[in-house]
């Protein structure tokens, strides 16, 4: 095995171009487990810890450009206002020690259907910025990023530079089912974001299909129902029948399996419950801010 230690982003891309089989290692919280247990013996490890750019983030007008290696702890501490869904999801990852090392770039690299960043990214709306020495930078819409179980749209010579995540324009929630609070891989998970500016709702489902997915039919149903009922303007409570139909459609968007963590039918059921709850929480919060701003006006 060789240990490659690029000191800059350009060097990292050059090393990846020269050795496309090199395994990047950022926080190492996925990679080292595989090496410790001899599940993986890469020819080259490509250490990204020295590439300072990957640890930085920039808050722009529309979105946050989050460096691939920014650890979850930093997201929770610094980006809660801009990225509430991702901050909540980050807090459910493993333990403080893991959150101090692991980040969204590694979560995307692994592309596990259970990765906690994914539902939050899908719900918020995001693009993955990847680059190669040969072809430069491209942006992959998050909806196109997950291509199969633990597979993603990266080419062998590409690295993830950052994720561009839409800044929240409304309430966001993240919900996860597990046996305890700390150190659990999700049985299933659900992210929801209200986007009052575009009057849309977006979702993300984790651990209930071969890849993280959005419940698109549920979103379309809800967008239409909210528009029709004038909900965005009148700020009424969501009709229980609308919430139920939304939850059912979210369940239907799942394509889960039975495994040690839960059965397929449990996952479908739980996703429906989380969909209804996160919708209620975010909508109540939206109504609250509407009332507050009306009161001020």
């Amino acid at each position: 095995m060789d240990f490659l230690r690029p000191a800059s982003w350009e060097e990292a891309l050059a090393a990846k171009a020269e050795h496309p089989t090199a395994v990047p290692i950022a926080g190492g919280t996925d990679v080292m487990v595989e090496i410790n247990f001899d599940h993986r013996r890469p020819e080259y490890l490509l250490d990204l810890n020295r590439v300072g750019d990957l640890y930085e983030w920039e808050v722009g007008e529309e979105s946050v450009r989050l460096g691939a290696s920014v650890p979850y702890t930093k997201i929770m501490d610094n980006l809660r206002a801009e990225l509430p869904g991702l901050a909540l999801a980050s807090h459910t990852v493993a333990s403080p020690q893991i959150r101090n090392r692991g980040g969204v770039g590694g979560n995307l690299g692994t592309a596990s259907p259970a990765g906690d960043a994914h539902p939050a990214l899908l719900a918020a709306g995001a693009e993955v910025e990847v680059a190669s020495a040969a072809r430069g930078t491209r942006l992959i819409p998050i909806d196109d990023f997950y291509t199969g179980v633990k597979r993603n749209a990266l080419q062998p010579d590409e690295l993830i530079r950052a994720v561009h995540i839409k800044k929240a324009d409304g309430p966001q929630q993240y919900s996860k089912v597990g046996t305890r609070n700390a150190m659990v891989i999700a049985v299933c998970a659900f992210g929801l974001a209200l986007h009052p500016e575009t009057r849309t709702v977006r979702t993300g489902i984790g651990s209930a299909a071969p890849t993280p997915v959005r419940a698109k039919a549920a979103e379309e149903f809800l967008n239409a129902a909210l528009e029709e009922g004038g909900f965005w303007d009148n700020g009424k409570i969501i009709t229980p029948s609308v919430a139920k139909q939304f939850a059912d459609l979210c369940s239907a968007a799942c394509n889960p399996i039975d495994d040690v963590r839960g059965t397929a039918s449990y996952r479908r059921h739980a996703v429906g419950v989380m969909a209804r709850r996160t919708l209620t929480w975010t909508w109540e919060s939206y109504r609250g801010t509407r009332r507050a701003s009306e009161g001020a006006a």
Partner: protein, 194 residues
Amino acid sequence: MRVNFTVNGRPQEADDVWEGESLLYVLRERLGLPGSKNACEQGECGSCTVRLDGVPVCSCLVAAGQVEGRDVVTVEGLADYAKQRAEHGGCASGACGTSLDEAQQWQAKGTDSQTGEGTELSPIQQAFIDAGAVQCGFCTPGLLVAADEMLERNPNPTDADIREALSGNLCRCTGYEKIMDAVRLAAARQGEAV
């Protein structure tokens, strides 16, 4: 490969390191510092917790090559680390720290309550002994490093803060109540000392 890094305030060099080796392995097998424990090698138990540039991490999940030029504190150096922090707000001179020899010999003797003899422990270490938070002791080093770091950041933790900070450290013996007592005790003593 060779890895140069700082351990407990002193520069160290580890030789013949395999590229896929963990920091935990380097500490235990190459530097002879068995304080950091190996229980799971997959980040689940926290018994290998050390500070990497001040941040608590599972040393079993850090690749050895990633620590080149960086700063590691292990449980063997915790007493000195806490002392420097209390007296000088940290080690600025570079003259402090725990040598490899001292670290290898290090034992948690504590201060005997009757004779007053023994080595000086960090407040969190003494509190673990006084509260009876150590049974088999396997989880203790990781818990000490994690708890000490929390008290550094948050001198007046609530019970929820303590549980959160220690949620990555498993103990199969104590049932955690005595560990909670120990951290509360260390926090209270820290408050009195100020």
